[in-house]
């Protein structure tokens, strides 16, 4: 599963629709969450959050060092109340989704939403236009313009501009990622190579083939 790494570039920010607090410490989100969250996209565009792609390291981590119990006075003296030192900022990530790519994703989502809205508007307009065509009132051209304008206004009034649902962006191929296997690996004209060939007797092979056949036949009969 592709996951994206989020880090706050400055102060911690809260992504409302994901209910996720992003600080300078790395937080991982799935691709579907990234694509579904409008807030996150906006924050990325504003440069509040840095996003990069990659896989979580599967190498087992070293066991955490034993916690050193601090004297309570020292712990209390730290700002923040818990006596925990601030985590250093992680190094900037050079690979992954750039702000431009995030912008492009956001634009694409907006375009899809706009297309859906237009489709819905047209669907809403069609009955009105049909009604006009069926009852052609002897009206002046200016009156016709006015009526069309009113019909459009009514139609648009019933359309709400919403972003695409999360499910529409989810991959249709299921949780497993599709595997790209290139075609045309074997060319029609293949150069001949020097191949070492050897010939040997096949009694063992014949015996094994017959035994395997008998075993399989026996098993299939047994099943019946």
């Amino acid at each position: 599963m592709i996951e994206y790494r989020l880090e706050a570039t400055g102060d911690p920010v809260f992504v409302v629709d994901l209910k996720l607090r992003v600080t300078r410490e790395v937080v991982w989100v799935s691709r579907s969450d990234l694509e579904a969250s409008d807030c996150l996209r906006v924050l990325i565009r504003l440069g509040k959050i840095r996003v990069s792609s990659g896989a979580r390291s599967r190498v087992s981590k070293l066991p955490p060092p034993p916690k050193r119990r601090l004297p309570s006075a020292v712990a209390r003296s730290r700002p923040g109340g818990k006596g925990v030192a601030a985590t250093p900022a992680t190094a900037p990530v050079t690979q992954g989704v750039t702000p431009e790519e995030a912008q492009a994703m956001a634009n694409k989502a907006a375009q899809t939403a706009a297309e859906n809205a237009v489709k819905m508007a047209v669907d809403a307009l069609l009955p009105a236009i049909r009604a006009i065509q069926q009852n052609p009132a002897p009206a002046a051209a200016s009156d016709l313009d006015l009526r069309i304008e009113q019909a459009v206004a009514r139609a648009l009034g019933s359309v709400s501009f919403t972003g695409p649902a999360t499910s529409s962006l989810k991959p249709t191929t299921g949780p497993d990622e599709p595997l790209f296997i290139p075609t045309g690996i074997v060319k029609d004209t293949v150069e001949s190579l020097t191949i070492k060939s050897d010939s040997s007797k096949s009694e063992d092979l014949d015996g094994a083939a017959s035994a395997l056949k008998a075993l399989r036949t026996g098993k299939s009969k047994g099943k019946k």
Binding site: R58, K187, E191, L193, T194, I195, K196, S200, A209
Partner: protein, 337 residues
């Protein structure tokens, strides 16, 4: 389309070091074809020399020329280079786009044309390694595509199970098959032809070469050459051979330990009615006195080994056992027609 009277079906063992195909002939014999799974890219300037020495190569135009197979290993020594290997640790890596075309050429050459349209071809696929985060899905998909593009109906067959089919017919297809390959070791435990346990470890002949080379300050290719020209594991001579023997021992112990660990996970699910044989095979098992050496190492572990072993034996044809086992399975496809 000339082999009409020979039995149909072909087996193809795709290994890190060699690609071997096995096919039955009209006279009943088994013909095996082998090509070294290696290539070397050279400049156009080397073309003349290769022509003079009669070496076949693939002309890539401005990108130079590519020498494939055994010649690549020989030319690598001539030019002081390391030959490139399309497979690493038994598997093709997703980023090796250059290697795909080379693999296509090699497999097409060892398989030849199918005897009939859609003739069955079983090709070997390793089991997922228990000690490395690599999966075999892409590997399997690539070779399925290559074999299909060669005109065959592709079937994937487990590498170690092929040894079971080729070597344990007399034991009712029950046994522990171990393929000591170059990139990895594949192991399968079968009971009456049913796969009970199947896994691989990402260590093999290359791991031995690398370890021994590091220990002695030598090179990996020198260790490989020493291994192939003959090393007596029971009587190693000199530091380098001793290092090789040490790493061989470590590899065998590792395989035995991993088998015990994997078996422990499934021991409640089935029972072995009688002792089973261990059959060892593969190019790495061709070292001198490998079998007694294996037995010696195993004896020290026998008490803790969870399976009762009747005997330990070498495959009758260790370099071709996997291809022969795959051939048996391919022939079954046509017997069922």
């Amino acid at each position: 389309m000339s082999k009409k009277s020979a039995p149909l079906g072909i087996g193809c063992d795709i290994g890190t070091m060699n690609i071997v195909a096995a096919r039955r002939q009209e006279d009943g014999s088994v013909e095996t074809s082998r090509v070294r799974d290696a290539f070397l890219d050279l400049d156009q300037s080397a073309k003349r020399m290769l022509k003079l020495s009669g070496v076949n190569y693939l002309d890539q135009g401005e990108d130079g020329i590519i020498v494939v197979g055994d010649a690549a290993m020989e030319m690598a020594n001539v030019f002081g280079r390391e030959a490139r290997r399309p497979l690493s640790q038994g598997l093709i890596s997703a980023g090796e786009m250059d290697a795909l075309e080379i693999l296509g050429v090699m497999i097409k050459n060892v398989l030849g044309d199918p005897a009939t349209e859609g003739e069955a071809c079983y090709f070997s696929v390793p089991a997922s390694p228990v000690d490395a985060d690599r999966d075999v899905v892409y590997h399997k998909g690539v070779f399925e595509r290559i074999v299909t593009e060669c005109g065959y109906t592709a079937h994937a067959g487990n590498e170690a199970m092929a040894i079971i089919y080729a070597e344990t017919a007399g034991d009712g297809f029950s046994g522990l098959g171990i393929s000591f390959g170059s990139g990895m070791c594949n192991l399968a435990l079968a009971v009456s032809g049913v796969e009970a346990l199947c896994f691989s470890v990402a260590r093999g002949g290359d791991w031995i070469d690398a370890g021994a080379a590091k220990a002695t300050g030598s090179t990996q290719s020198r260790m490989c050459a020493m291994k192939e020209t003959g090393v007596d594991l029971l009587n190693p001579e000199g530091r380098e051979q001793e290092a090789l023997a040490l790493y061989y021992k470590a590899l065998i112990e590792y395989c035995i330990d991993q088998t015990a660990a994997e078996f422990a996970k499934i021991k409640d699910r089935f029972s072995l009615p009688r002792p089973i044989p261990i059959v060892v095979s593969g190019g790495t098992s061709m070292a001198g006195n490998f079998l007694p050496f294996f037995e010696e190492v195993f004896e020290k572990k026998r008490k803790k080994f969870p399976v009762e072993v009747s005997e330990i034996r070498h495959a009758s044809d260790p370099m071709n056992a996997v291809a022969r086992g795959l051939l048996i399975q391919a022939m079954q496809e046509h017997d069922e027609d």
